[in-house]
C-alpha cells in the first residue's frame, strides 16, 4: 500500500478497506508514518482480542512511548477479526513499514457510514502540516 491509497482518521490511524470472499468489508488499520515519527521510542502496545466489538472514534488499544501513552482509536464500527501478531515484539520496526508489515488490526465493518468521515491523503497531509505548525 502506498499512503496515497489510504484513508485516515483525524487521530492518525490509517485505513484500507477490502471486500473479502464472503462480501464482508474488512478494514486494515495501522498508525500513520507521521504518528509513528511523533511518538518515537515505542516501548509497549496493547491490542484488542479477536472478536471484540469496536466503535468508530472509541479507543481499541493503546501505544506507549518512553514519554507518554496514547490511545488507538478505531476509525470504523465493527469487530476485530485479526491482530498483527508481530506488532508487540516489533515496535521499533513499525515505523520501517507503517503501511505494510506495520498494520495493527483488521476490523470487519458493521456500519460503513463512518467511512465517509475519514480523510483522504491530501486532507490528512494538510492536517499533519497544521499540527507541525502548531508545534513549531
Amino acid at each position: 500500500m502506498t499512503p496515497e491509497q489510504l484513508l485516515y482518521a483525524k487521530t492518525h490511524e490509517w485505513v484500507h478497506v477490502e471486500t473479502d470472499p464472503s462480501g464482508a468489508k474488512i478494514a486494515t488499520v495501522g498508525l500513520s508514518a507521521f504518528a509513528l515519527e511523533v511518538l518515537t521510542d515505542l516501548v509497549y502496545i496493547e491490542l484488542p482480542e479477536v472478536g471484540r466489538q469496536v466503535e468508530a472514534g472509541a479507543s481499541f488499544g493503546e501505544i506507549e512511548s518512553v514519554k507518554a501513552v496514547s490511545d488507538l482509536f478505531s476509525p470504523v464500527d465493527g469487530e476485530i477479526v485479526e491482530v498483527n501478531p508481530d506488532a508487540a515484539d516489533g515496535l521499533d520496526r513499525l515505523a520501517d513499514d507503517p503501511y505494510g508489515a506495520g498494520w495493527l488490526v483488521k476490523i470487519k465493518i458493521t456500519d460503513e457510514s463512518g467511512l465517509s468521515e475519514l480523510l483522504d491523503y491530501a486532507a490528512y497531509r494538510k492536517q499533519c502540516e497544521e499540527e507541525m505548525e502548531e508545534q513549531g
Binding site: V38, T40, D41, V43, Y44, E46, E62, E64, S65, V66, K67, A68, V69, Q135, G136
Partner: protein
Amino acid sequence: MMSSGQPLLKTPLCDWHVEHGARMVEFAGWSMPVQYTSIIHEHLATRAACGIADISHMGRLRFEGPGAAVFLAELLTRRVGGLGLNQIRYSLVTNEQGGILDDVLVGYYHNAHGQPYYVMVVNASNRRKIVDWVDAHLPPERAEAPGEEVVWSDVTRLWAMFAIQGPRALDLLQPLVDVDLASMKYYNGAQVRILHPAAQRQGGIISRTGYTGEDGFELSVGASIARGVWEVVMEMGKPLGAVPTGIGARDTLRLEAGMPLYGHELSEATHPFQAGLGYTCYLTGYDFPGRDALKRLEKEPFESKLVGLELGGRRPARGDCPILAGDEPVGRTTSGTYSPTLQKPIALGYVRLDHAEPGTELAIDVRGRPAPARVVKLPFYRRRKGSNA
C-alpha cells in the same frame, strides 16, 4: 505553573535547537527541546559517551556581600556558610511546616578579582516562588544592615548553562578550560577561563555536578556567548560520540539514577525525611524556616517513604498510579518511565513503611490494570566508578 497563553521563555540556544530538528515543548514556562532524535538514543549515548543538554532554564540566583553566608545559612536546611572555595552542596528550602519548597545546589566561588559570591541553582518550576521567598526573608533593613549587607539577583537570563554528562565529558571539556578537571572532585566547581575565541575572553563556571548518574560537568557561560561556546562544545564532542540531549532523556537518566524531581518526588506536602533527604537537614546551629518543625518531624514516625520499583512486563507506570499490596492501596507512584538501560519499566513512589523493604512484591495499578512491581534499592543504575568521580 505558568498560565497558558503567556509567551514562553527562550534560552539563548532556542534557535539552535529548532535548527537542529529538536521537538520543542513547554516546560516550566520555557520552550525546551524534549528530544532531537530519540529519547532512547540520547539516553544511551549519554551512558556510553556523552550527552550535552541545554539547562539554561534552571534558575540561578547570585548572592554576595558580607552578610550573604549567614543569610543563606538562615534560609537553607544545610549549612552552606561553611562551604570552602569552589565547593557545592545540595540543600533544601523548606517552609515553616518543614515542607519542601525546592531542592537546590549552592556553590561558593571567587570572581576574577577575588570577590566571593554564592550561586544557588533552583528548579525552573520554582524560580518565581524562591525569588519571592528570598525577597520575603530579605527585607531592605536586613539586606542593607551595616556590615552585613546582602546583594542578590536572579541571573537566570544572563547566564546559559550546559550539562555535559557521560564518560567522555572530561575529555571533551578539558581542552576548553584552564583548570585541571581530572583533579576536580565531585560537587566542586571553579570559575574558569574558556580557552576558545568563541568565548570572547569571557569566563565561566564549571562544576562536577549533574543529574544523570554519570560523571559529568555543568558549564555556565554568559548568554551573549552561549551559542558560540555551545557550537564549539558540539564540534569537539562529535569525534567522542557526544550528542545533544533533550529534557526527555534528562528525565529518564535522572530516574535511573534515582534522583528526585521537584513536583514529582518532592513537594510542599513532602518532608525531607520521607524523601530520604534527612541528611540535608542540619537542625542545630542556624535557625532556618522549618527547622523547629523538622526537629519534631525527625522524631515522629512517618507513614510512607520514597522507594524504587521495578515492574514486570513492558507496560510503564507513570506518576500518580496507585501502588497495591494485594487489593490494598499502600502508596502512589510519583514518576515512572521505561528504563532504556535496564530495558524494563521503573518507577519511584511513596510506599507505606511496612511494604517498603527492598524485595517486597507489590503491584501498580496502571490505568485500571495491575502490573507486578518489586521494591528495589536505589539507584536503579549505578555507573562503574572511574578514578576521580
